[in-house]
Symmetry: C2
Subunit: 466 residues, 2 copies
Amino acid sequence: MNIDAVLERVDRETGASLKQLKEYLRIPSISTDPAYTGEVRRCAGFVEKRLRAAGLDTEIVETAGHPLVYGEWLGAPGRPTVLFYGHYDVQPVDPLDEWRHDPFEPTVETGRRGERIVARGATDDKGQSFTHIKAVEALMLETGSLPVNVKFLIEGEEECGGEAIEAYVRSPAAERLGCDLALVSDTSMYGPGQPSVLYGLKGLLYTEVRVRGAARDLHSGTFGGAVANPLNALATMLARLRDPEDGRILIPGFYDDVRPLAAGERSAFAALPFDETKYGEEIGATALWGEAGYTTLERVWARPTCDVNGIWGGYQGPGAKTVIANRAGAKVSMRLVPDQEPDRIFRALAEHLRASAPPGIEVEVDHLNGAPPVLVDLEGPLVDAALMGVEEAWGRAPVRVREGGSIPIVSTLSGVLAAPVLLIGFGLSDDRLHAPNEKMDLVNFYQGIRTIVRVLDRVGSVDPGA
Amino acid sequence: MNIDAVLERVDRETGASLKQLKEYLRIPSISTDPAYTGEVRRCAGFVEKRLRAAGLDTEIVETAGHPLVYGEWLGAPGRPTVLFYGHYDVQPVDPLDEWRHDPFEPTVETGRRGERIVARGATDDKGQSFTHIKAVEALMLETGSLPVNVKFLIEGEEECGGEAIEAYVRSPAAERLGCDLALVSDTSMYGPGQPSVLYGLKGLLYTEVRVRGAARDLHSGTFGGAVANPLNALATMLARLRDPEDGRILIPGFYDDVRPLAAGERSAFAALPFDETKYGEEIGATALWGEAGYTTLERVWARPTCDVNGIWGGYQGPGAKTVIANRAGAKVSMRLVPDQEPDRIFRALAEHLRASAPPGIEVEVDHLNGAPPVLVDLEGPLVDAALMGVEEAWGRAPVRVREGGSIPIVSTLSGVLAAPVLLIGFGLSDDRLHAPNEKMDLVNFYQGIRTIVRVLDRVGSVDPGA
């Protein structure tokens, strides 16, 4: 295969690629808003059309919600199979008045790092996942075939829960998704010009805690001192989740299944450029603080956390009301790391909270969301080949990063597929995803296409049975 | 003085007294609602008219808010002077649909303890303080004079902050309030047929605590672990206010000025009939809980307390939002006992909260309300005489009780007047004050008049200079 010819084609056709991306971005595929259901379906149709133009067999997979788009080309028997995941739906656009123009009228602007396209979905995830389709198309048009078998699974509910794809991937129909490697581009690079492979995502446990005392609100003068106050009790229960001195989580057994950070991983993190002062300034924090014995990057990427995300109870208005409210509640979530299991942690949390309640306080703990943590084993010839392709495209080796957030579908894919899931992002931390004036640097859009071409070229040279 | 003749007159004129009380209760003197400002003034006029009918010189004292009604009869030189305090304003009436009839159409119903009058203000405080006026009137009409000098100060803002009377009592004009004994009837008896003298009220310190972290809300995945979470921090700060095991308040120096419960006081409390099970059932609490080493009555009446009255921060809606909110807050109040000073406790509280905050969390503490505690010294010939009058009226000695609530004007009067303030209530705990279908048992209304007649008779026999 003449890869140079393919890359030349990519470069020659940037205008057409940009034009198609704009067409994609013009479709307001806001999945969470029922008013846009028709537009979401129209967007699925656009994706299917582009997959077909790239030479794939396609199918719109109907679900209980928004449709999935599936595509495949299996004309390389004996060669590795690569599964691409992406999503064609986007976040809502409010606050609309903070946009410089219509969020669905994609506009090329010149920023400090060159041209960028500004629109809802520019980076999350239309721009990023479109690089996969354009790379496959360039290979196909230039060479008449692909160096690997490819499958695409592109969903329309990533921004509103992702229930359809979760059900699909866990159903018998998902047998067709078998692959040797999965690729996702829905994250950011470590910095401009610095490609990254994201190999660790935290799991999530999200709960709601409710406490209840007397049958009704009580006057704090008449009854103060006689009964446990649900708000004081809740504060005590929440305070007991973490040691206020060293930041350790105090739930019994919480750390039992935490895989310790390997020395090699710690030194790799330490080698990354990271400016604590700048990091604090960017979020307006006067001090950073976390679990003792770990750096900020280690805390965020690789150590479990526990945050109260919301709390309520009693009188919240102006002035004074002398009340002992009879109920209060809080949202409590945890980011988990391998090998913590959300369900097991939930049971330990609920038991710990109940044990911390004083007499007369009833405690209810609801499990709202859970996702297991993911740690991709970046070993083996296929992974090596893919990362070599990334390095060739950027002229520097990708750094290996982890991330404090959770992408539930990655956990699911990682569990269901017996294959590594590589997250190779082309976004940047200033892309304003979910915010007004979301953008993607065009250099990263085009580099993304080139990267995928090189990755598929390299992966195609590996014997998957070896 | 022929006290029997006076009491016969009281009994003979119950019909007229009830009729006048109904007239009083028909005036919707809701002080907190500007729509009723005219009615509040009309009510002041009614009170003034009744004081004049009792033979007193009167004055409507204008204030920045609702007027005060002042009355005096100083025709007994060399005799003690008694100051009566009460209030003619009432609480709002909502929820209106829970009333059995118009709250301002007083209705006599038959309850399990006999006849009662149902209307807003029946017990709080029109019915109770009207006993003072009717007693003075009966004495005056029957004997042509009074056994003591009397002064009345009746306010119209007790239910909406009481600012006018506070300012008045602290102004030079208050010199006219000089007295040997003050009497207030705005509380409840310990039980039906059991007269009580309330000699201790708690003080109050009411604050608002606000915490702030980063400059904006943060994603709990991207930033979890890197910064102190304001909601976790607030929970920790609030949890550190009280020992969750023994219920002691942990603010350094908090107990320094607490006057210990005297052995005699503890045994007096213990001698009162008090059913913990029934008490818990009435408020729907599955368990009572409080400071170790004290009974429920001691905790409520005589030990300082600390309650979180409200708390807020972050996401309070349904489902999950993975946010680290950048601010949170709480209302925190304390009921204080002699000799704690609200301002000193405030400083200790604020310092303790600040010291409990982790790095990166800014803390603000606002002082919203404060009132010093009151403990009336139930000693001396005037007090003895008054309590003897109460005993004669009821056929049993009044029990000495304290109360967990705060009545700021009592603190103020107690501080400004160099005289004991006796709180002799004629209400009952089931009078539903501040609630729909507020009532007063008629037996207590009439007994209240008789009680005040006997109290004034007894007090009049004491030489105030002795």
